[in-house]
Amino acid sequence: MDLVMPDWGLVVWTTVTFLFLLILLRAFAWKPIMAAIGERERSIEDALLKAEAAKEEMSRLTNENESLIKQARAERDLILSEARKAKDQIVSDAKELAHKEGARMIELARVEINNQKAIALADVKNQVATLSLEIAEKILRKQFEDQQQQNELVSQLLKEVKL
């Protein structure tokens, strides 16, 4: 029975000691420990949230980059195709122009050639005429060196004239 009868002296000492321990530990141990643990947990949670946000930001940036790249690629393709078209246009224009110019120049050349040819022919004709006249003069001079022949011719000519 002694075992289950509390010893009041021990009750007093336990009460005093436990309350003393509670007050001391609360002030010097539990408060700083709980505060530090809470603080650390908050900072860890904060860091995790920040990491999550950074990850999201990162994926957002990656998406943005990808879309930018896609856009840039499309733009490049557009520019390239436009440039190609422009090049084709320029080349074809240039070809056409060159063609026209060539044709015009050929025409001009032909006209010039014709002109020159005409001039040359005229010249040749003049020369031939002059030469012919000179030859004819020389021949006539030779033929009409004696009087008799002249008379003969006159008479013949006269015969031919029919009055």
């Binding site: 021990l10 336990t14 009460t15 000691t17 436990f18 509670l22 530990l25 010097f28």
Partner: protein, 359 residues
């Protein structure tokens, strides 16, 4: 106050671990020693038989002496509050109950480890004299030792928290942080809810006070071996603290549930009795549970060791030691379990008192 260099040093840690494990080894040593002791007493008093009942009760009860080993014992200070005034002397004056001590106001003698006022002859007990025994007994001494240990440990841990702000715990801090977090996340939060922070100091102090005293009680040699948490006075104080904390913090829903429950009004008187019994019986169960569990552990170990003396042969010792070892390992679990259950139920009762709901 910074003790972390002392407590964190590897030697000390190793020492603590070794002392915990040497508990099993020293059980054997103690057994042999007690055997020698009893054999000498058998020689001196041929007819005296070993009474296990008496031996066990003597070991689990409180004492004015702290036995170190063999016949060596420290007489602890005796403090008596008498009708005349305060008396302070050493218990060694009693010479293990052989002699009466003549104090300032009365003569005192140790009868069955209790201090009684005796007549001038030192034999006749004067039951009329009122004395209040405030002695520093073995349990009080052991409790103070545990308090010093707890303060050293936790103030140093608090110091390392201040020193290592935002860093991972290290050393003693990392050993105790899981326990502290366990009390917070598994005991306080689920049972009390968002108001838990206010009760954390009480729950933590209770848990570690019970735990360290359970563990000190398991060490079978000086300065351990006291049966503090297996003493009804100690568990009563703890249970009364729970009772007071629960009822002081009870909110209107708690009191409404007790004084105006949802039953026909003519049932109120019965309900009041039932609810009042509930208020008292909850801490009462706490008190008995801790007391009985820890005391039973001590009794079983002592009974197993007593087998050696009952059979008067050393050949029983392997069996005794094997079983005592098994029980000690079990008690190690019980030491944690009972500290946890006491704290858990305290949290549960506080939770039921501060809960906000309508019935």
């Amino acid at each position: 106050m910074d003790f972390s260099p002392v407590l964190n040093s590897k030697k000390i840690t190793l020492g603590i671990i070794l002392s915990v494990f040497s508990l099993f080894v020293t059980l054997k040593a103690n057994a042999v020693q007690e055997k020698n002791e009893s054999s000498t007493s058998v020689e001196s008093k041929e007819t005296e038989k070993f009474d296990p009942n008496e031996a066990i009760l003597e070991h689990i009860a409180d004492s004015h002496y702290f036995h170190i080993g063999g016949k060596v014992a420290i007489g602890l200070p005796v403090i008596l509050y008498t009708d005349g005034g305060l008396e302070v002397f050493s218990a060694s004056e009693f010479e293990h109950g052989e002699k009466a001590h003549q104090g300032k106001y009365h003569n005192y003698a140790l009868v069955k480890d209790k201090i009684k006022v005796v007549g001038a002859d030192g034999k006749t007990i004067d039951e009329t004299a009122k004395i209040f025994d405030l002695s520093i007994t073995r349990n009080v001494f052991s409790m103070w030792m545990s308090v010093v240990l707890l303060i050293l440990i936790f103030v140093s841990v608090a110091g390392s928290y201040k020193k290592r702000v935002g860093k991972a715990p290290k050393g003693l801090q990392s050993l105790l942080e899981p326990l502290i977090l366990f009390i917070r996340d598994e005991v306080a939060l689920p049972n009390i809810g968002y108001k838990y922070a206010k009760f954390m100091p009480l729950l933590l102090t209770m848990f570690f006070f019970i735990l360290i005293n359970n563990l000190i009680g398991m060490v079978p040699f000086f300065p351990g071996g006291s049966n503090l948490t297996g003493n009804i006075a100690v568990t009563m104080v703890l249970a009364v603290i729970t009772l007071i904390v629960v009822n002081v913090n009870g909110n209107k829903y708690y009191w409404k549930h007790i004084f105006a429950p949802d039953v026909p009004f003519w049932l109120y008187p019965i309900m009041w009795i039932v609810e009042l019994a509930g208020i008292i019986s909850k801490p009462f169960a706490l008190m008995v549970r801790l007391f009985a569990n820890i005391m039973a552990g001590h009794v079983i170990v002592l009974a197993l060791i007593s087998l050696i003396f009952i059979f008067q042969t050393l050949w029983v010792s392997p069996v005794s030691i094997a079983f005592a070892l098994f029980i000690d390992v079990l008690e190690l679990l019980v030491a944690f379990l009972q500290a946890f259950i006491f704290t858990m139920l305290t949290a549960l009762f506080i939770g039921s008192a501060v809960e906000e709901h309508h019935h």
